[in-house]
Symmetry: C2
Subunit: 350 residues, 2 copies
DNA sequence: CTGAAAGCGCTTACAG
DNA sequence: CTGAAAGCGCTTACAG
């Protein structure tokens, strides 16, 4: 490997001068002639600075850890792309980690940080992580930003504008004429799940509608969770004419169960799901979704870890705003449901 | 950060002694008493060696780059898990990269290597990468292993046992009584696609069956590719009673198109797909798949980059062997197809 | 405007 | 059996 002193020798200057020229200079204390010679020499030798040496000297690693609970989740791919692009633009590398490790091997992140291998951590918490586990992370002096999970607490957070996204979904169904709308929600204890359910309730209230408790499930974001939710919902006495599904993964399960019962989407029931991923367009019918700014979330997370960023902040990403991606899983309700059945299903005591 | 000399001071020995004790010692030239004192001191101070310093000294980084074309692909998640577990066990970190970057920014990998940030590269090539691009990678002295793509050439390769997987799928359909079997294949120019098509042809031949060219498509692995393939297939004069789909992603698209035409799976047509991913169980009907040892592939790739590994090798992962995951998309053919229609569709010249 | 020197925190021949 | 010393390749006060 060619090193600084090689370039210096070729350019006829000291290594220090080369270092200064190549790093863009602090106070530009180099003559133009010298600068030219140095640049030419570096180019000719294809000089690339050694990362370990630089890191040892500066205590900066230009590396960020991206820790997520589930690489197969609907949100990961786009999130990772946003983070990667931003990282690339800043010359940072991204180290991948699974959030399970935080539990399986509590030393893992601590070791990564302790070894001085990373400048910061982007962390998406598994649903329902207790606040105590958050506190445990805070001790490390490495900056951490928690994404797509909690939106307050002792660590910096960045979340999506869940209220806007859910609002869009509800509005869409309203405009189609639906009044009986159910929610397939996230797991009880999921921070995004809570935000989305709250947003759903308030959007319904704003529209002058009510949703019986029986039309809202909280079983989680996975495909099987959606299937379980659909089983539960479809056994209600009365059915909603439309469902807002808080995550596209769950929507696949919902769709499967509806098919299994020989009901029709959107004929018997309309579906809108949060997050737009390729397979929303590869199901039958293709699913109408709300596209959320996930790559922007990823990019913002990188930004939040840069030296400039100050203290603990709580950010909501709402640019570009959530966008409805219209496909074929939503349509006006059919006349089968002629009665406005949105009433509280208060069951009599047994 | 506590450093080696701090531990040495507390233990009353030289830094050199601490280094030797902590690194497991070369020739164990330390008295038991000293070793105990050193270990105790390191533990008490929670000493973690600085990675940059060690890396600068040893020229090893304990970091592997994992470069893939598509994080949303059916194979990525499990592959990454296998690689990550193996890496974790060896104390390595994994840096994520997208294969697009190899084209967009040809400097990227070169820079990563040049900076001395990685010990090796695991690379899954985008379908149809020309061999010349492979040669370009070989110049770097950092070990590279190409996975899940080509199975020979100037770089080390690791692939799945595609022939065994496809054989399993064909056998399953045969046992159900199918004789008219089509193939939804990978992109023309996809190395795995070619292997799977070859395997399909030979499995059919072994079974004494023939598949007309019109029942074999080569449009790619994505969901939309599967949809396009289904459109093409379903417009044949005669239809096969079953399809082997070379990738689960494409199978979603196939399923969607079949639904769109109001045909039934498996009533009208059976489907088996390669790769078992969560959404195979979240569609309707759930899709029968062939599970391939992807996490083992990931782990093997890490192993292939370790110092012990010698020279260019070409490996096929076949343990555990591919496994049929029976779901509801396959069934015996219905009597509708009474005639063995597997004949070459040699069209007359126009 | 530029160079000589120190030092980041390790590891490892080389002595003793 | 253990220590003193050199050096990995940088960056950056400090001189001049």
């Amino acid at each position: 490997m060619v090193k600084l002193s090689d370039v210096a020798a070729l350019a006829g200057v000291s290594p220090a001068a080369v270092s200064r020229v190549l790093s863009g200079d602090t106070t530009l204390r180099v003559s133009e002639g010298t600068r030219q010679r140095v640049m030419a020499a570096a180019q000719e030798l294809e000089y690339v600075p050694n990362h370990a040496a630089r890191s040892l000297r500066t205590s900066r690693t230009s590396t960020i850890a991206l820790v997520v609970p589930d690489v197969t989740s609907a949100v990961f791919a786009e999130l990772a792309r946003g983070a990667e692009d931003e990282a690339g633009a800043r010359g940072l590398a991204i180290v991948l980690g699974r959030a399970e490790r935080l539990q399986d091997d509590r030393e893992w992140l601590r070791r990564l940080v302790g070894e001085g291998r990373i400048d910061g951590v982007i962390l998406q918490l598994p649903d329902g992580t207790p606040p105590a586990d958050l506190e445990a992370l805070v001790v490390q002096e490495t900056p951490i930003v928690v994404i797509n999970s909690v939106d307050d607490g002792p660590l910096s957070t960045i979340v999506l504008d869940d209220a806007a996204g859910i609002g869009l979904a509800v509005d869409h169904l309203r405009q189609l004429g639906h009044t009986d709308i159910g929610l397939v929600g996230g797991l009880l204890g999921s921070a995004t799940g809570v935000r989305r359910e709250t947003a759903f309730r308030s959007a319904m209230t704003d529209a002058g509608l009510r949703t019986p408790e029986g039309w809202m499930t909280r079983l989680g974001y996975a495909g099987t969770d959606g299937r379980a939710a659909a089983i539960q919902l479809l056994e209600s006495v009365s059915l909603p004419t439309a469902l807002v599904v808080a995550n596209l993964n769950a929507a696949l399960g919902v769709l499967a169960e509806i098919h299994a019962r020989d009901l029709r989407v959107p004929g018997d029931i309309s579906i809108v799901a949060m997050h737009d991923v390729w397979y929303a367009d590869a199901t039958w019918p293709p699913i109408t979704t709300v596209r959320m700014p996930l790559s922007e979330l990823g990019a913002a997370a990188i930004g939040a870890l840069m030296p400039g960023a100050s203290g603990v902040t709580h950010t909501v990403i709402n640019s570009p705003p959530p966008q409805l991606v219209l496909r074929r899983s939503t349509a006006p309700p059919t006349s089968r449901h002629s009665v406005h059945s949105a009433v509280d299903s208060k069951e009599p005591p047994p």
